[in-house]
Symmetry: C2
Amino acid sequence: MTAEAPPGAFMRAEILEQPHTLAQLITQPPSAIAALTPKARAAQFAMLAARGSSDNASTFGKYLLESLVGIPTALAAPSLFTLYRRPPRLQGGWVIGVSQSGAAADVIAVLQEARSQGALTLAITNTEGSPITTAAEYAVLLGAGPERALAATKTVTAQCVAYALLTAAITEDAQLQRELHTVPESVRAVLAQAEAIEAAAYRWRHVQRVVVIGRGYPYAAAQEIALKLKETCYIGAEAYSAADFLHGPLAMIEPGYPVLVLLNHDAAGSMTAEFIARVLACGGDVLCFATHQARALLEGMPPGAGQLTVIAFEVPSAVLSAVAFIVAGQWLALTLALLKGRNPDQSRSVTKVTITQ
Amino acid sequence: MTAEAPPGAFMRAEILEQPHTLAQLITQPPSAIAALTPKARAAQFAMLAARGSSDNASTFGKYLLESLVGIPTALAAPSLFTLYRRPPRLQGGWVIGVSQSGAAADVIAVLQEARSQGALTLAITNTEGSPITTAAEYAVLLGAGPERALAATKTVTAQCVAYALLTAAITEDAQLQRELHTVPESVRAVLAQAEAIEAAAYRWRHVQRVVVIGRGYPYAAAQEIALKLKETCYIGAEAYSAADFLHGPLAMIEPGYPVLVLLNHDAAGSMTAEFIARVLACGGDVLCFATHQARALLEGMPPGAGQLTVIAFEVPSAVLSAVAFIVAGQWLALTLALLKGRNPDQSRSVTKVTITQ
């Protein structure tokens, strides 16, 4: 594609590449994963350092590491390392830095400090030879190929898969490993729903703000979709856990308020279905991305004063559904941006690589 | 006050009580703080469980514990304890649950699990005899008196002060202890600026969304102010670290976009001042709450296409400024809610005590 590519051409192409890029990563996992596994098992805690979309993938990583590996996992506050120079004690811990470009200065600073303290360090990046790969003891290269759209897509889902590969290796969970191999297929299942997502975007073409709700494993996907909507459509989009939303923000919902909900087929999904009923009772306009099995949770739900649209697809498992939700959100953001006359491959004021101290 | 109290009467009264409630907490710190200090020093990591405003106070706690105590600190994902029943390993850690009412079921579940695993457990609550006080081994009672407005105010600043008291006790930092004693005075300094805050609210009486920015120690205050604006004014308000905002959301800023910035007099403040210049260049309408000493960072700043309003006040230190910022934000939210014809003491759809599993 050249500079004269139509608006959104890069983002569209990169979204569509995902079944391929993820299949490659899953079938040929980077050797660093097996190499660091014994040390990772001995870590007392983990700390994840990232910004933007990589931070959202790391929230998914936190849920996997805490629930499946059992390791307490914090998200780093980089300013304590860079601006204040008062980092916490990290010896005995496992510190993971994630950066698509491999150039995020504050993420690199966290890894350097962790390594100097004797912590196990890992970089996850899409850019071979980037500074982050030498800052950490181990590096996982995502191999997703160059990402040219401003909005990160294929590198984010690859980061999520990298966290899942690490989790599967540490736990030796054969079921998780099998499920991982069906992730590319589930991305295809989402893309097969492109028309339904486009119709939903058309209905929302005039919205100026939207709330994105997830609970449990899909919470990270809600955060990533909200960021994608903001950076491509310039609309106010905020992600919440369904539980947090009931502590105050529910008061914002008035008739017609657009709410995107991610519905999983697990205990968090049941709670989220109850949340949908409350939003509908307030008159909310709910678009629900649901796993195929979760549709049953919505059967017989009274629409209240609101409106409910459901788009469902097959996923490997409730643990791994986040990748499919993220892809559905990418397509929604792409379509909505184009309907609003924006070019999601570019931005008014943001550059692809943001270096913050 | 009776049921016929004018709109916002409870919230106003509770905001104004803060110099008194905080002075009492600081001069008569709960005995649990000294009692658990030796055990807290031995903890390898900390995990903080809370929802809503208490979660924002806990973000402040994370920054204090990591930067001053040096202990890696995670915010808990309660769904892993309650819905998934796959909690992380917590032995050797220190788990703090925070709940104004002391009735938050998921926070209590985190404490119970942590205690059963042998972790050090602490509850921070305003409600004597509440379930959370027996779930944890230790309990810090805030003693702020009944909170009747829907929007939490005096209990949030008391939670922040409780984290600072814990930090000062563990580190035996005499300077921090001295600075803590000037917190009530700094709250009075903010309230002395009530008219300036009201004038800023009047200028923003028609806004439907606002971005709230902080970096470093005031980041938690930005989160709390955004929540307060949402639950009292029903407007879209989202908090960001200045660093995260540059990774994408900056694209949302168009001429006249309202941005509230918290400006500290430290390294994070210098970075935040550069951020303000970028927002002004995009035409943003910036309201800046600044510490007295931080005003110098804004001298000679070109307004660009935007507008800059600064309201400054004395604070004890850059570490403890968050309490003053939160109080300034409370007054902004109260005024804006009344200007918009809302009663911030009540809500359309949220109750004071929210119990989520």
